[in-house]
Subunit: 211 residues, 2 copies
DNA sequence: CCCTTCCTGACACTTGGTGTCAATATCGCG
DNA sequence: CGCGATATTGACACCAAGTGTCAGGAAGGG
């Protein structure tokens, strides 16, 4: 059961090294802050040279925010799984359910939350985080555009981007609110609450933009 | 009329140098790209040393995106100028009117638009742009919270952040759509269109978050 | 004219990140 | 087991963005 593995050995050792690096780095960041920790220190603490570190991560930033790349595909997948005739706002809400699992898992959360604190308190990382989220949104905009009108995506129609952006704004708002709360309420209800304040007006686009 | 000036001489020469640097840098960026242009080159082209450049701008990035800092106060000001009983969505829409002036001004636009293209095509700058916009939003969230319920801002209420974030998402969407269009329609109508697709449900917050 | 103050350039240094290359470890195969 | 191909690694040199320091020079006020 160990041959013809879908994940070759090379790739597994690689991931192991990345996990190791991440764990070591997290300790250092917690102890002395992100900016005050050099790549040399991280590499040395993991028993390798700086050059080798950069073979596992394209940048110091990516060690922290690289994992967010996985979100993009998972979200697109989750959105595609929703019925085509479902209201888009509801589809987006259900799509966000996959982020709930992330937060709900008790022993994963501590690790993830510590990294989150680092991201939010380091402007440089927060900026890159926002950019990644923007890229995720771009993936989804095309899909939402198709649901709004069955023809192809008209790039001069601002509505799909507005809707997706608004949905993400709700998720961000819910995240912040939940972090600021005592966590007695489930994150999901914050998300419901945030998304309930905005309704999509399906009869819009009357302010003529004659294409 | 030149003494006891509200803007002292030192500050004026400083701004002049910044403008000069920006103009020179813009040419270089347009010619060879942002990443391929070093600070040394910009400084040399403006007749100064690298060290002096960093006395005028805290970083290479700030030369491009530094001007967005002005937006924060201008927007907060514009929002404060709206009547308190006006629906918040309308207030936010009117607040964005100040961005229209920026885009409308014919001879300012060419310069501003070139810089905008650089920002959007350089991930690093785009990330910092998004972060700045996020900071602007944080300024406004408190004000919107006060309008929603007259007591002080409850940080575990996601609605103000959701609304402000959604409004900015609409502006971003309108910007992108307008840039992708042939610009025959006014930018304002794109903004109207984007913001009209989302309506605020004032009777929300029924999904009890008992504070 | 001098004295103070600010501005500037030169220099050295740190850190993130990359190219190169030789040494070494690993893998597949006979 | 041994051998050649391939991948991984570390050492070194290098570049670019910033930052600290310091001495010299320009501007301004008396």
């Amino acid at each position: 059961m160990s041959d013809t593995n879908p994940v070759p050995i090379r790739e597994r050792t690689r991931r192991l090294a990345q996990t190791e690096l991440t764990a070591v780095a997290q300790d250092l960041f917690a102890a002395q802050g992100y900016d005050n920790t050099t790549v040399d220190q991280i590499a040395a603490a993991a028993g390798m040279s700086k050059r080798t570190f950069f073979r596992y991560f394209p940048s110091k930033d990516d060690l922290v925010i690289g994992k967010y790349d996985l979100f993009a595909d998972r979200m697109a997948e989750a959105l595609d799984a929703r019925p085509k005739n479902e209201p888009v706002w509801e589809s987006l809400r259900r799509m966000f359910d996959i982020t709930l699992d992330y937060v709900q898992d008790e022993h994963q959360r501590a690790r993830s939350e510590a990294m989150d604190a680092i991201v939010r308190s380091t402007p440089q990382l927060y900026a890159r985080y926002l950019e990644k989220m923007q890229r995720v949104q771009e993936l989804l905009i095309g899909r939402i555009a198709v649901r709004l009108n069955d023809d192809e995506h008209d790039p001069s129609d601002p509505r799909p981007a507005a809707i997706v952006g608004a949905a993400f704004a709700c998720m961000q708002a819910a995240r912040h609110a939940w972090f600021a709360s005592d966590r007695s309420e489930a994150f999901g209800s914050y998300l419901d609450d945030a998304m309930a304040t905005l309704k999509i007006d399906r009869a819009s686009r009357m302010t003529a933009i004659a294409t």
